[in-house]
């Protein structure tokens, strides 16, 4: 074989390929079309698309769980970095809060004594004896669409749609889709989330609705209701979807419209408990309707933003 006149070392083969127009082939237009078709089918909630998604998810959940084990130290590092990024703002906030808390300290000591007796009285209303399953969050949503998380427990662990999900700090969300080994938790911040709640000591009724932001809104409040920042927000149990009295958060500063600062850090939640609460698992729209009684709901509905 005749040697070329000039050799130009390793990598020359790539350079010596004749210049030609870059072509994507027929596959790219076909795949673009398939992607758009899938997007349209997802938009119209096609059953087949959902089934395929869950079959793949059932296969992938154990894989993701296994991958999480070796990357755990790295994950902790990233989490710490993320916390450091918000640290200076957090420090300023804490300094201001500390000043305010000193003023409240004396009052807290007095209230502590009263609280002990009140707690004993309120305990009678608390629901007891609910089984739960602990599961790990294996993936969570990114982007503008949903606020949800995938957990590594499903029908095999007797988890069903509608079950409430809690972290150590409070309610996190509800199960909305269940596969054999995995389930999807619709977080309280998701735009589709609707939870009937009681607010403050007077137990003002409202619906806590997510809007994909960090602080869900309180809707359907009665016209004459007055809320203060810091008022506790708890599940009301109306509609039977979630047990009564689960802690959710407190009323945030500002408003109306009022918003809720959640107790649970939905971004940092790692392990969650799924309550096997056999209430009436209603869809969000029905829950919203069922939680409000009669006249006040109709009055409030006309004022909803």
């Amino acid at each position: 074989m005749k040697r070329p006149l000039f050799e130009i070392g390793p990598g020359h083969k790539e350079r010596r390929q004749p210049s030609r127009p870059r072509r994507h082939g027929a596959s790219v237009p076909i795949l673009l079309f398939v992607s758009m078709a899938l997007l349209v089918l997802s938009r119209v909630n096609n059953d087949l698309v959902d089934r395929v998604r869950w079959q793949v998810m059932d296969v992938m959940t154990p894989v993701l769980s296994a991958i999480l084990i070796p990357v755990e130290p790295l994950r902790r590092g990233v989490q710490s970095l993320s916390e450091y990024a918000t640290l200076s703002a957090e420090l300023e906030r804490l300094r201001a809060e500390n000043q305010k808390l000193r003023g409240w300290e004396w009052r807290a000591k007095d209230l502590e004594r009263k609280l002990a007796s009140l707690e004993a009285a309120s305990r009678t209303a608390r629901e007891t004896g609910i089984d739960f399953v602990t599961a790990r969050i294996v993936s969570n949503s990114s982007g503008a669409f949903v606020r949800s998380a995938m957990i590594n427990a499903g029908e095999r662990e007797r988890i069903r749609d509608g079950y409430p999900v809690l972290s150590g700090d409070g309610l996190v969300g509800r199960i909305v889709e269940t596969g054999t080994k995995a389930a999807r938790v619709l977080l309280l911040t998701d735009v589709k989330s609707r939870i009937p709640v009681h607010v403050g000591e007077k137990g003002v009724r409202a619906i806590m609705a997510g809007d994909n932001g960090a602080k869900p809104r309180l809707l359907f409040l009665a016209e004459d209701s007055r809320l203060s920042p810091g008022d506790e927000v708890r599940t009301s149990g109306s509609g039977g979807g979630v047990p009564k009295g689960l802690g959710i958060g407190k009323v945030a500063k500002g408003g109306p419209p009022y918003r809720v600062e959640l107790h649970a850090d939905l971004d940092a939640a790692d392990y969650v408990g799924v309550l096997m609460f056999e209430g009436t698992a209603l869809d969000p729209a029905k829950t919203a309707d069922g939680a409000i009684d009669g006249q006040s709901a109709r009055k409030a509905a006309s004022r909803e933003p």
Partner: protein, 170 residues
């Protein structure tokens, strides 16, 4: 081209896709950058002529992100394919110079993010919040040198040397 070298582009993209869907404990506003990271690998592999990364691997990677993040199916596969096509077209202009490659990636990224925002807005029939997309693009730009260096380290781009002879049609 031997088999491991042939599989490298697809495997590296698959690995980065898995990394993109793991729960890293980041706040939701920072997390949006994660699905954009595979765009860096797609760009780096697509600017080679011929590209060793098949279009179906790009599609599969996007579909995996859609499934594992419970997003609408077809969204990220469409975005990744757009990034692939744009990278092939824009990236050819500047394959060897790192700075020019960064500029070409920036052009691709801006277009990709604009397409992503448009599709998200069309999907909901209302304008999506733009700040998340812009922050994600900024973080992806900053992550580019690190991830691009990895690709160049495992598969160096051919460099033109001082005394190389330029021939017509070669």
């Amino acid at each position: 081209m031997n088999l491991p070298r042939k599989l490298l582009p697809g495997l590296s993209l698959a690995a980065l896709t898995i990394i993109a869907v793991l729960p890293w404990g980041l706040a939701a506003s920072y997390r949006f950058v994660l699905p954009l990271l595979p765009v860096i690998f797609i760009h780096e592999w697509a600017i080679r002529n011929p590209s060793p990364l098949p279009a179906w691997a790009v599609f599969a990677s996007g579909l995996a992100v859609d499934i594992l993040t419970a997003g609408p199916l077809g969204y990220w596969s469409l975005i990744y394919l757009v990034a692939y096509v744009l990278s092939v077209e824009v990236g050819t202009l500047s394959r060897s110079e790192p700075a020019l490659r960064w500029v070409s990636f920036a052009i691709v990224l801006v277009l990709v993010v604009a397409v992503a925002w448009s599709i998200a807005s069309l999907y909901f029939f209302e304008a999506a919040e733009m700040s998340g997309f812009l922050w994600a693009a900024l973080w992806a730009m900053l992550a580019y040198p690190l991830l691009a260096a990895f690709v160049v380290a495992v598969d160096p781009l051919p460099q033109r040397r001082m005394n190389d002879r330029l021939e017509r049609g070669v």
